[in-house]
Structure formats: structure tokens, C-alpha cells
């Protein structure tokens, strides 16, 4: 029998119907839903509003690349006002309304991630990324469904302290906000400093918005610390604390972790309060968006940003906060795609298994090299220094892996 085009198409259709039938029998939703809670209002509204556009971009990009196993995705974003319980209600609402179509969730705070962790059981569990780098979350045994899209705060302190030791520093001060966010790496940091032979000469807890900053500046001056690690602030203390220290004539080098390393904020503070951030350092797990050489993923984002965010500050620059969200989304998508490829249902257990198996993955330029999700986190980062005149954070160390 000769095979012509028509008979080939007929037979192919019949064959694919037979082969494809079992997968059709599985209830596959018309689209997968990625839920998200963001602080679009409240104290961290600035961060939430910078992160929100990432979802629109991610939705378009992922769907253009074939969704997950051919099924498109949709984002469902809710405001949390940075209240963990609101975010929990949002998550539970998304579970109730979207059911199995909800395959992943993006949380907005450490508080939410901790609050929701024990709720993630059975059919209530979903793979979950977040804005948080809280050390407690990076524990596959207790939180198999939650991951950090970068190093934990403890890892970030390790990187900073290692860098100080490499530079020949001998004394360090820890100033942190009296919040969960601020206190996270302090105990670990003290132990690590001791291991590295660094003396912790001051450990000072402040309010998140720093009402009595002059007292802290005086204490810092009295301690004579060469380096001062700041933790648990987004912008609040820069002008008062660092500006105050410079006015005081202190030579202390200030350093921060991820949330204190955003160029937009540093530029704004410099424009409003002067160039005192010159030389400010900190740890950043990702490459900054302007560092796009050999980063094909960033090039893709740059093209999309030009089109999608024309006329906004996001047109030419993607903040680190947005990059972190994109990174978390890409990790979730990779885990879900791996699961779909194995022809397994996209349950939280299967997705978490795929997530934990990610090894030596080249993400296209986010990090210094290929990454692995070991211990549900990516323990890498490097130290950057801010130049007030250039308005850029430039690398001042190699990539550390912790």
C-alpha cells in the first residue's frame, strides 16, 4: 500500500489519538494558575509595585515558550498590604477558587511563608517561592514545598564576613531592625565571625524605621568597628545612619544584604540626601540588569521591557527585586516543566521532587554560573560596591559559593 499525504495524515491522527488518549483522560486544566500575594499597599508598597510587572512579563514569556507541557499559565495577583494573614487568606482563597489549576504560589514575606508552611499538607500544598531569604525556610525536610531563589540571609552574612576577612578586616558591628527580617542571620553571623577571627564589637537592634538613630551612630563611633553590617532595612536607615556616620566623620564601611542593594533606591537617596552612599557595599546573588554581557535571559527581558514598559523606569532597567521574582518564577516553571515531562501530575510533591533535583542549571545570566537547588536555596552571591557618581553597583569580589 502506498503512503500518500492524506493517508499519512489520517494514520498519524489515528495513532496520536490512541497514544494521546491516556493523557486526555487525565483532567488537565485549560490553563495553570500561578497565584501571588504582593504588598501593593502598605509599608513595602514600593517593592510590591516594582515586582508586580514581573508577573505580566513572565506570563507572556512563559506562554510564548509553550507554557507548562503545552498548557498556558495565568497569574492571579492579590494585594497583601504586607500583612501575613492577608497573604494567607489570599492563598487559601486561590486554593478554593482555582483548585488543581493552581500549581504554584508566590509569597510576599517571611511572615507569610512561615505562617503558611504548616498549612501546606496534602491537596492544600503548592510549590511556593517568595521574596524572602529567611534561613528557616531553606529546609527541605520541614519545608519541602518552599524554596529561596538565592542564598539565605545567613549565607549572605557568610559572604560578607568572608569578604571582610579576605580584605584583612578585624572588627565588625551588626546593626539590625528589631524584626524577624532583621534578626534572622545575627546569631549565625556572630558564630561565623568568630570562626573567621573577626571581632563583633557592637550588636545593636533598632526600630525598622530607626527613630533614635543618633544614639546608634554614637554607639557605632564608640565601638570603633571597621565594618558595619546592616540587616532588616529596605531604605529606612540609610540617610540617618550612614549619612549620620559620615557627618560624624566615621570611616566605618557599611554593608547590606539583598533588600538593601537596589540601585533605584540608592540613586533616589543620593539625589535627595547627597553622595554619602559612595563606597557602600553589599551582597547580591544576581547580576545587575545593566551587566548583560553573556546573559541571554537578561537580553530577552530587555527587549520585552522596552516594549511592555515603555515610558516607565522599567523600560531600561529591571530592579533587583523584580529580577529575584523572575528568577523564582523561572525556577518554579522549570520544576513544573520537568514534572510534566516525566508525565506526572503537577502536584506539590512531584514539583518539589523536581525542584530538589535541579543541578548545574544555566539560567541564562542571573547568577555567576550554573546553579543547583541544594537545600532548597541557591547559595551563591558576590559583593558589590555603590558609586554615587556613576549610580552603579559594581562587583568588588568574585562569586562566592556557600
Amino acid at each position: 500500500m502506498t503512503m500518500n499525504r492524506r493517508s499519512f495524515l489520517k494514520r498519524s491522527a489515528a495513532a496520536s489519538a490512541v497514544i494521546g488518549a491516556p493523557s486526555l483522560l487525565k483532567a488537565q486544566p485549560a490553563e495553570y494558575v500561578f497565584g501571588a500575594s504582593l504588598p501593593l499597599t502598605g509599608p513595602f508598597a514600593t517593592a510590591g509595585q516594582l515586582v508586580a510587572p514581573a508577573f505580566a512579563m513572565a506570563q507572556r514569556l512563559i506562554n510564548e515558550e509553550g507554557g507548562i507541557g503545552g498548557v498556558p499559565i495565568r497569574f492571579l495577583t492579590e494585594d497583601s498590604g504586607y500583612v501575613p494573614q492577608n497573604a494567607l487568606a489570599n492563598y487559601q482563597r486561590a486554593l478554593a477558587t482555582e483548585g488543581e489549576a493552581l500549581v504554584a504560589y508566590f509569597g510576599d514575606s517571611t511572615g507569610f511563608m512561615k505562617l503558611v508552611a504548616p498549612e501546606l499538607r496534602g491537596d492544600q500544598a503548592r510549590l511556593m517561592g517568595s521574596t524572602s531569604f529567611a534561613s528557616e525556610l531553606a529546609n527541605p525536610e520541614t519545608n519541602p514545598y518552599q524554596f529561596l531563589a538565592g542564598p539565605s540571609y545567613e549565607d549572605q552574612f557568610d559572604i560578607l564576613l568572608q569578604n571582610i576577612a579576605n580584605e584583612g578586616g578585624s572588627s565588625v558591628a551588626f546593626i539590625y531592625s528589631n524584626t524577624e527580617f532583621g534578626r534572622d542571620p545575627i546569631a549565625h553571623g556572630k558564630a561565623r565571625a568568630e570562626e573567621l577571627g573577626l571581632k563583633v564589637v557592637l550588636e545593636e537592634s533598632t526600630k525598622a524605621q530607626g527613630a533614635d538613630i543618633p544614639t546608634h551612630v554614637t554607639k557605632l563611633a564608640q565601638s570603633g568597628a571597621e565594618y558595619c553590617l546592616l540587616q532588616g532595612y529596605v531604605t529606612g536607615v540609610w540617610p540617618q545612619l550612614i549619612g549620620g556616620a559620615r557627618q560624624f566623620g566615621l570611616p566605618t564601611k557599611f554593608m547590606g544584604t539583598f533588600w538593601g542593594m537596589e540601585k533605584i533606591i540608592a540613586d533616589r537617596v543620593t539625589a535627595e540626601a547627597g553622595p554619602f552612599l559612595e563606597g557602600y557595599q553589599g551582597v547580591m546573588p544576581y547580576r545587575y540588569f545593566y551587566d548583560r554581557e553573556g546573559a541571554p535571559r537578561y537580553e530577552t527581558f530587555a527587549e520585552m521591557s522596552k516594549e511592555m514598559f515603555a515610558g516607565t523606569p522599567l523600560e531600561t532597567y529591571m530592579p533587583t527585586w523584580t529580577i529575584q521574582t523572575m528568577c523564582a518564577i523561572e525556577i518554579v516553571v522549570r520544576a513544573l516543566r520537568d514534572t510534566a515531562e516525566k508525565d506526572l501530575p503537577l502536584t506539590a510533591d512531584n514539583a518539589a521532587e523536581s525542584l530538589a533535583a535541579i543541578r548545574d542549571w544555566d539560567m541564562g545570566g542571573y547568577f555567576g554560573g550554573p546553579i543547583s537547588l541544594e537545600g532548597n536555596k541557591i547559595g551563591t552571591g558576590r559583593v558589590y560596591t555603590y558609586g554615587a557618581e556613576s549610580g552603579l553597583f559594581t562587583p568588588s569580589s568574585d562569586w562566592f559559593t556557600v
Binding site: 495577583t77 492579590e78 494585594d79 500583612v83 478554593a96 512561615k114 505562617l115 534578626r183
Partner: protein, 357 residues
């Protein structure tokens, strides 16, 4: 249709549900709550359970603000006490080797008792100060309790800033491991609380509270001990909030101190103002509005524009504005709250066509 309000016996005079519409309304609500676990989807159950927990707390607040006339802005502290008591008591019971099935049966009453005791202490300033001054004193109680929970020295017990995981309720072998089952417990205890508090105000104690609200000096002249009844009012009120807190702990798998801060206290007061102070149904209506308005806004915004972040960002300020406007409108046009509006409406139905209420 009735054409008069003839009451031929004391029993008829004392009846709470004194007209058929009111009876229909209350029994209808009870039937709806009973049917809910069987028919509603997860989302409705979630919202209903949240409403139930808040309702019990607002009923408690109503005792002290609505019936006794003592302004409190710190009742979230009592919810925190009730909530934190549950995991602590479970830990204690586990150390004693008590079977899991009886733990909630002991933990809930004990959590209520502890909250009531703390209520007694927090109520002490009410003997010397009133009005705004008392509001500030109770407000500070809220801050002190949260501060103590977050204190490093207390962290081994309360989890400090990190919060604490809460146990599952297991009542004599019935594991309440789903929100649906928890709702059944919350609804049952919610109705019991309404009934108890309603009946409290048909007793000597409740009437003493009301006398204090109307004029405390006159009440004292009549022989009502202000010390005893003001503190009792705080204790009853705190006990209800303690119950709400205990249910909160069983409902959620983890509690954090920031869930019990001033915002929650203010939300309780707002619900009471909107619903109607010093009325049995006031807390019910208030909680329905306070919980349902954001949900309805979310639903309608979602229906119009899907789940985009822009819409979510727009919705939050709209929600705040609607809340603010609601409170202002109620204070201006119906200070007695929705309870009064519904009452007027039911009364006019009952007397139609002879009177309009």
C-alpha cells in the same frame, strides 16, 4: 399581621424572638450555618470560619463597650492570649501524658479562663479612668501583651517573632483537620456565645453592666459595686476573645504575634460600630459587613478585570475608602448601627400596614 403588642404573660414579655419575622431571621441564619459545611465550597467555608472567629471576639467586645460603656482598644491582646494558650497547654498536656482526644476539651476552657484573668488585670484602670483615657490604657495593654510574646526570654514558649505552630483539634477522636470541620466547631461555639451573652443581659449581672453604662455614679448609689461589675465585664469580654483566640489557633496551623496587633483591635471596634453597639445582633451584622465588604470588592474587581496586579493595587485603597466611608456614614446617620436598621425594618414588616416601624 398584628394590630397591637399585647403581652399576656411575663414569659411573652421576656421572649427574645418576640415576632415571627425575627424568629424566621434567626432560625434561617442558624439553618444556613448548619447547612454550610455540606453545601458550600472551600472559599465560602474559609470566609465563614473567619467570620465566626471574629464574631465571637466582637460579641466579647460588645459586652465591655456596648453594654458596660467602657471603651477598649486592646481586645486583640485577649485573642492573642487565647491563641497562644492553646499550643502551650497542648505542650503541657503532652508532657503530662494526657490523651490527644481530650486536650482541646481542657485547652479551650483553660485558654478562656486565662484570657478572663488577664481581662481582670487589664480592666483595673477602668475603675479610675473612663472614655478616651481608658481607651489609651487598654491600647497599651495590647502593646504590652505583644511585647511580652515577642520577648526573647519568652521565645522558648511563644516562638518570639517567629511565631509558633499550633496543634490540630482532636475532640474525642474526631480530628478537625479540615477547615470544614473546624467551621462546624466555630459555628457551634459562635451560636453558644451569642446565646450566653444575650441571656447574660436578662440577669442581674447584665443589668448591672447596663446600669453602669447609663450612669456609673447612679449605679453605685443603687448598690452596684463598680469594682466588681466593671472587672467582671472585662473578664467576660476577655473570655469571649480568649475563646476566639483558641479557635483561631486551632483554625490556622501557625500563629504570629503580628496577627494580634492594634489593627485587629481597631477592626473589632469598627465591626461593632457598624453592626450596632449594645445589641445582640450588632456584632453579627458588623462582622458580616467587615469581612464581606473586602471579599465582595475582591470578587467584583476580579470579575471585571481578572487577576492583574494593577487591579489588585487599585482595589486596596478603594477598600480602605469604602471602610472609612461606611464608618463615617454609620456614625452620622445611624449611630446605633445595622442592628437598628434591621430592627426597624422587621418591626415595620410586623406592623404593616398599620405602622411603618
Amino acid at each position: 399581621m398584628i394590630n397591637g403588642n399585647l403581652k399576656a404573660s411575663y414569659a411573652a414579655d421576656e421572649r427574645i424572638l418576640d415576632n415571627p419575622y425575627r424568629r424566621g431571621f434567626v432560625f434561617g441564619a442558624a439553618a444556613l450555618a448548619a447547612a454550610l459545611p455540606f453545601v458550600a465550597n472551600d472559599y465560602i467555608i474559609l470566609v465563614a470560619a473567619q467570620m465566626g472567629i471574629m464574631l465571637i471576639a466582637v460579641i466579647g467586645l460588645n459586652v465591655v463597650i456596648g453594654y458596660t460603656g467602657l471603651l477598649s482598644l486592646g481586645h486583640a491582646a485577649f485573642i492573642a492570649i487565647g491563641a497562644y494558650a492553646v499550643p502551650l497547654l497542648h505542650r503541657l498536656f503532652a508532657a503530662w501524658g494526657l490523651p490527644e482526644g481530650v486536650m482541646p476539651l481542657l485547652a479551650i476552657p483553660l485558654a478562656v479562663a486565662v484570657a478572663a484573668l488577664v481581662g481582670l488585670v487589664v480592666g483595673l484602670p477602668s475603675l479610675r479612668v473612663k472614655g478616651l483615657y481608658l481607651a489609651v490604657a487598654t491600647l497599651s495593654a495590647n502593646f504590652i501583651v505583644i511585647f511580652l510574646i515577642e520577648l526573647d526570654a519568652m521565645a522558648p514558649f511563644t516562638g518570639g517573632f517567629n511565631g509558633i505552630n499550633t496543634p490540630e483539634a482532636n475532640i474525642l477522636g474526631w480530628r478537625l483537620d479540615s477547615q470544614r470541620e473546624m467551621f462546624a466547631l466555630i459555628a457551634g461555639l459562635g451560636f453558644a456565645t451569642i446565646l450566653l451573652v444575650q441571656n447574660l443581659f436578662r440577669t442581674r449581672v447584665g443589668r448591672a453592666f447596663i446600669a453602669i453604662r447609663e450612669r456609673d455614679y447612679s449605679a453605685e448609689v443603687l448598690g452596684i459595686s463598680l469594682l466588681r461589675y466593671k472587672l467582671l465585664s472585662f473578664a467576660v469580654s476577655a473570655a469571649c476573645c480568649g475563646l476566639a483566640g483558641a479557635l483561631f489557633a486551632y483554625f490556622y496551623a501557625r500563629i504570629l504575634p503580628e496577627q494580634f496587633e492594634l489593627a485587629l483591635s481597631l477592626q473589632l471596634v469598627a465591626a461593632l460600630i457598624v453592626g450596632g453597639m449594645g445589641r445582640t445582633m450588632g456584632p453579627v451584622f458588623g462582622v458580616v459587613i467587615i469581612v464581606m465588604v473586602p471579599e465582595l470588592l475582591k470578587y467584583s474587581f476580579g470579575a471585571i478585570a481578572g487577576g492583574s496586579a494593577d487591579v489588585a493595587a487599585l482595589r486596596a485603597p478603594v477598600q480602605e475608602i469604602v471602610f472609612g466611608a461606611l464608618i463615617i456614614l454609620f456614625l452620622m446617620f445611624e449611630p446605633l448601627g445595622i442592628a437598628q436598621i434591621v430592627d426597624r425594618w422587621l418591626r415595620s414588616l410586623n406592623r404593616w400596614p398599620f405602622a411603618r416601624g
